[in-house]
Symmetry: C2
Subunit: 160 residues, 2 copies
DNA sequence: ACTGTCCTACGACAGAAGTAGTAGATTCAA
DNA sequence: TTGAATCTACTACTTCTGTCGTAGGACAGT
């Protein structure tokens, strides 16, 4: 039955190539195997069946699901959000930096990855988010704290 | 002879666990296999030989090298900087976001990973960097290139 | 010189990831 | 109703990762 596991969005662990495919799927919203394959960068565009295999594995991991059929082809849709996935990857990254976003940010900045504008915009996003939060008073601890993600370094949860 | 490949720092591709070990090595500056093993988080602390294997593989990838011996044990030192590594990982991340740091930043912010303070500090770092650059007149970001390992191939300096 | 302890250098192996071929089912346009 | 084109559902590697065990070398006491 190739039953897709119902996984907590937060524990879906993707490999590089799976991420690559998810990237395409996130962009397209939903797509067939062929569409996905065609969106992959020319250089590293594997055979059709290779992509198919990846998609199947993603399905088993609960990262995507079939939503409908077009012709004889299945159309897949993401089950995990890009956001949740980045969060996950970022957390991993943090692991190698004593869990400090600061340090990581510094490295990124120094590495020339981020421009002042990027940061400014991020700030705006953040501020907008804050006020939204206050205005609506929205509670709900949403998905976030699933469980102290087994951080390695001494405790010290990031405070905001 | 287990000759370590002289790899361009930028093309060293590390796996999760290798990163984990590198994390420990970056923190210690230089260390023996045992020291590295002991710095790994209790929970996931593999057997001594497992760590040893990882270190050997890192050596072959040119990510670390033996610098000396203490007793009968080798002491290793990182050959790739933490910075360069983060850069690499970040680049990969960007791949899933249409190459836009903005989008990624937004996701991070929304995910509650970054606080306003984190951003402010990053900005300062950036500004400090800018003026340093202008004042000091651009100087190679070398930092840990202790010895020029015959590095000469066609440089493919990524600039963004 | 003998012995226990700690390393190193290899060799192994299971499971994950990447890559793809094939047989048979579907679909679509004649 | 046929046949080509396209998919799907498997099966099958090969490589890469994570994990160790073991044999034999080095060294510190005794």
């Amino acid at each position: 039955m190739t039953e897709a596991r119902v996984a907590k969005e937060s524990d879906v662990k993707l490999t590089r190539f799976e991420l690559e495919v998810m990237g395409a799927l996130w962009e397209l919203g939903s797509a067939s195997v062929r569409e996905l394959q065609e969106r992959l960068p020319e250089g590293k565009r594997p055979a059709y069946t290779t992509v198919q295999t990846i998609v199947y594995r993603l399905e088993e991991k609960g990262a995507v699901r079939r939503v409908k059929k077009v012709g004889n082809a299945h159309v897949f849709e993401p089950m995990v959000t890009r956001r949740a996935t980045v969060r996950r990857l970022f957390d991993e990254l943090l692991g190698f930096f004593g869990g400090s976003p600061r340090t990581l940010m510094a490295q990124l900045v120094e590495g020339g990855h981020l421009t002042l504008e990027d940061l400014r915009e991020a700030e705006e996003t953040l501020e907008r988010l804050e006020s939204d939060k206050n205005a609506t008073d929205e509670r709900a601890a949403v998905e976030s704290q699933s469980k102290a993600t087994g951080r390695k370094g001494g405790g010290k949860g990031r405070r905001r």
